[in-house]
Symmetry: C4
Subunit: 349 residues, 4 copies
């Protein structure tokens, strides 16, 4: 399937204060790669992504028990992409052997950070990843140990940058405290959930870190498991992921179908439709563009099981400029969840 001719050009953004550029839209192997999407299909998606200018591919040691990394690595090799043309990240927390033996095969100890990343690189068939994320905070391991461990893998050439995922703001600040104290490299980016329904972390909790430590964001779930596309407004289609996936996070959402929160979601999505219609854009594009209109977002990670889903996503790039302050205020009114941000004089001022 050839790339449609009228797609907008990809945007590239710096990952926080770093010198690394990632495509505003990126491809993640969360629900799909190595999982229920067949490999040939994965290859098609990755090729489509690359062809539309996506340069950032995100996976994790835990995705499909390591299979996501294997398939991504095969695709990179199959298409002969130059290593310097792509940005590959993985995330360390639940190791490949986690299910069999959780002891030391999880978390952010020096042992697991090093052994976990070694396993990821072997599965990816790469010498290094560009970014290695701590997939979750590990409240049992001292942050200093984790900061040192990620610097160790950077110093030994196995990664260029490190980041966090789903960490609390003060945990990120503490990681920087140890990095500064020891002259080491701090986490360059955080990978949180961010979408119209999940705003607190990105807009309130991290509000001061963008300036303080130059935090970048590679956000996941920009469409809230598809809810923001509007496709569940008239019920759950039989062949949809929400109906069928055995992924724990999808199962958690499925359990909420029909509850009070779910009804709010559906009603809000319905109220957003007139805005999408007025702007002459699709609802998925509106939701994606809304995420990218936040200048602190470096990249929105999307999943895809078919190339046309990627082409569709890319169209949201031209929607960003349509989101004027007035439109954004109107959306905020509908969402009703804009978090208050306390102004602080920067501690550096």
């Amino acid at each position: 399937m050839p790339v449609p001719k009228d797609l907008p050009r990809m945007q590239y953004r710096f990952l926080g204060r770093s010198g690394l550029q990632v495509s505003a839209i990126s491809l993640g192997g969360w629900l799909t790669y190595g999982g229920h999407v067949e490999n040939e299909n994965t290859f098609s998606c990755m090729k489509a992504a690359y062809d539309v200018g996506i340069n950032f591919f995100d996976c994790a040691e835990s995705y499909s028990n390591g299979e996501s990394e294997r398939v991504m690595g095969q695709a990179i090799k199959k298409f002969g992409w130059k290593r310097n043309d792509i940005v590959v990240s993985t995330k360390i927390y639940w190791g490949e052997a986690f299910g069999e033996n959780p002891v030391n095969n999880r978390g952010l100890s020096r042992k697991h950070v090093v052994e976990g990343l070694n396993g990821s690189l072997e599965r990816l068939g790469l010498e290094y990843v560009d970014i290695v994320f701590a997939h979750r905070p590990d409240r049992d391991t001292p942050i200093e140990e984790t900061v040192r461990a990620f610097n160790h893998v950077i110093n030994t050439g196995k990664a260029f940058y490190w980041g966090t995922s789903e960490w609390d703001a003060d945990e990120i600040a503490t990681a920087w405290r140890y990095a500064d104290k020891l002259g080491l490299i701090g986490p360059v980016a955080e990978q949180p959930q961010y979408n119209m329904f999940s705003r607190n972390k990105v807009e309130k909790d991290f509000a001061h870190l963008y300036e303080e430590v130059g935090l970048g964001l590679t956000i996941w779930s920009p469409l809230k498991v598809g809810i923001l596309t509007g496709k569940y407004n008239n019920g759950i289609p039989e062949n949809s992921r929400l109906a069928n996936s055995t992924d724990p996070s999808v199962e958690r959402m499925r359990a909420r179908i029909g509850g009070k929160e779910w009804d709010t979601f559906i009603s809000v999505v319905a109220k957003l439709k007139p805005i999408a219609d007025r702007l002459e854009v699709s609802q998925p594009n509106l939701a994606m563009a809304w995420v990218l209109a936040n200048k602190n977002v470096s990249s929105a990670i999307t999943g895809a099981s078919r190339p046309d889903q990627i082409y569709e996503s890319v169209k949201s790039l031209v929607v960003i400029e349509k989101l004027t302050p007035e439109i954004l205020a109107e959306i905020d009114g509908i969402l009703g969840n804009k978090p208050p941000v306390v102004k602080r004089r920067s501690p550096m001022s």
Copy 2:
């Protein structure tokens, strides 16, 4: 010999403040492996240990002149254990060539730390150990040189953590002083003797280090060369280790048989029997559980020459919770050696 069905589940504890988890009971190659226990028997013991959930295997370059490491390495390879599922430690001080030429083949100089560990890794057939211990303090080498040397082997990927064994409390504090000053990694654990008859170091001398530097403990001789099992209360059996072993530490103990201290040991062990009986546990299990009831103990290292000894040890895990404050006080009364601990405000408070 299959693992008995009714054994309790293994406990895992963090090694001090680090993110590494070790089994509460671990297997050491001190008196046995590479020594008078045949290799096949060693393999059976290691397999039994692994099967009951022991993940921590401790050896030393000096044990049986390096043979202990060789046999442990062969077992790891033979059983195809995943490297990330096990925690392997060795200890550096008396090098393999120590007996032939003590000059520079002992101690904690940069030369011997590096050369010693290189030798250990070759014998183990491993790329790295999880923990490398300084087997004794070296009062002739500046602690700064030793701290730098252990950080060098960590930085070059030959170990994840380093610790000490039989160091004085102020030596450990001094190692941390240099580590902090230089931004290096301090010793994460100490490996002292600890049992009902040897309490001062663990309970008094190190009392403040658990909070101050997050010290973990991997203790040895939880049963005091078997005395605490009660098996020597009616004399020394002919086929016992105490009767036959040529190991220097056993020989030292043998020389004390019949002396005043020995008689105290025997009499105390006899007085502990009624408590064991009341709790419906064996005396070895009581002594082992008593050690593990100390929350600062990360792991108790046991030797074993037969798999059933390991199965027996594991039973002590369920005894820990039977050791109520009242029982512990009763035991303290019998032992009569509870060291006083001076309360200090933490220097960090």
Copy 3:
């Protein structure tokens, strides 16, 4: 073509405050190597350079899209030069794949510094360069990231020193600020344009850095694209580089032919001729010697498409001492562009 017998001996100068010595005249692959000069010719030029004592060979990942490095590497191998007898530098900024995909294939991010230098070393067929330069400032990447990245390649043995090219004075000072703060190595040299018509950076902007940070200079364009040779004073010869080269920098100069600035150049060069005649030296030698009379210049990089151009350059070495304070003042009078230098007490005094 054998080396002429009467050539002066090469001078060697320390590269700023470092212990590295570079020949006062060096050979660069800017316009020529890998470009319009045939390889055999390049080999002849490099051999001629080596034979007259030039030890410093400068190239860049961007020169002729990497071809300059390949040809230089082939020459080094072909002639069997000892690695320790030569000083090889390259410059990182616009990567080999820059034209196809500018994202992350340019600039001074950790990713491109490491990937760029890896590519350069592969093309050169060398394990390390002596000096790696940041070919331009990258105003999108934090200077701290760049300082750390160049130290990483030094620590991993891929370069001995690092420097900058066409950076502003305060950017160099800031790089040193981060290097000092982090205990890292600062940039040892800057590679600016310097010649009779471009004096501000070297004589005014950097004036205090020579003492403050020990800055060395490896200057380019000592003859201002040949204008200072006087060869364009009677028009642009048909077979000259200025008439034909498609190099962007030459094209920029060509566009200025006949403009007001161009006319000033021509008129000044004409006024310099009597001085050259009086000193009995050629105009190219006068211009080159004038550059080298500045003691802060460690090396003047020349291009050459024929060995005799190199031999001619070397003759300027004996002209340096003819440039007495009186002659230099006379030249300053003609040039009319001597920048004022503000005296400052050193911050370290």
Copy 4:
């Protein structure tokens, strides 16, 4: 030639404050190995040295243009000595290619320290030396660059310790200043000339460094090119080294024969003979023991062209204890050159 039965046991001393132990008497390849002593003879000397307990073998990249290192390396391999049983040092300053091309093949720049040591290790056939010395101070290279370069080779596993040779006291103090400032490793030892006729550096200039930085000494020329043996008291034997060697340092001494200083030497040596006779020791043994009686001397480096010279040297070990304070005072009276030492309160007190 078997080792004589009645030789005293070798003494081992710590190298300054480090944990490395070197034999009090060591073997150097200065005048002999790779030079005028045939290889087979060198092998015999090295074997004899090893057999009497000498563990420290010193060479330099410049000795016989690298040949000394090659022969020493061959001997180590030939005799199958364990690497951990010997201490090998080399010294970097004048590189192998120094004679052909002095530019960057000499001195203490990062380039030459790294390239020089790489060359030494290749010639020695070793992965690392125990100690790498800066063979002379390099007044053209910043001491900070040199400190960093030696730490680089230590960090990359090519040496365990570094030292200096013939540096001034304040240069050593400055090296430590940079090491402390940057958290790096300072020079552990100095290799100066030291004997009855050359006392100022060791006894006066360095007097405070032994405590301040824990400086060790590996001294050369304990017998002042043989003068202190008394063998030149009746003229220069035809087959002596002083008569024949083309080594520059010997040639310098030869030029002084018959001068005023030479006459003083001869007259003092004659006056020492009665003391040697009274103690019933040879004059060489007296002179060597006098050097070793200085507790700051870690090792005295001797040359040897025949095994029996080594056996003879070792006899001086039992002479040390005969040098009572009274005898030492008597010798000082004859030498008339005891330098005054100014008492200082340590800057650390």
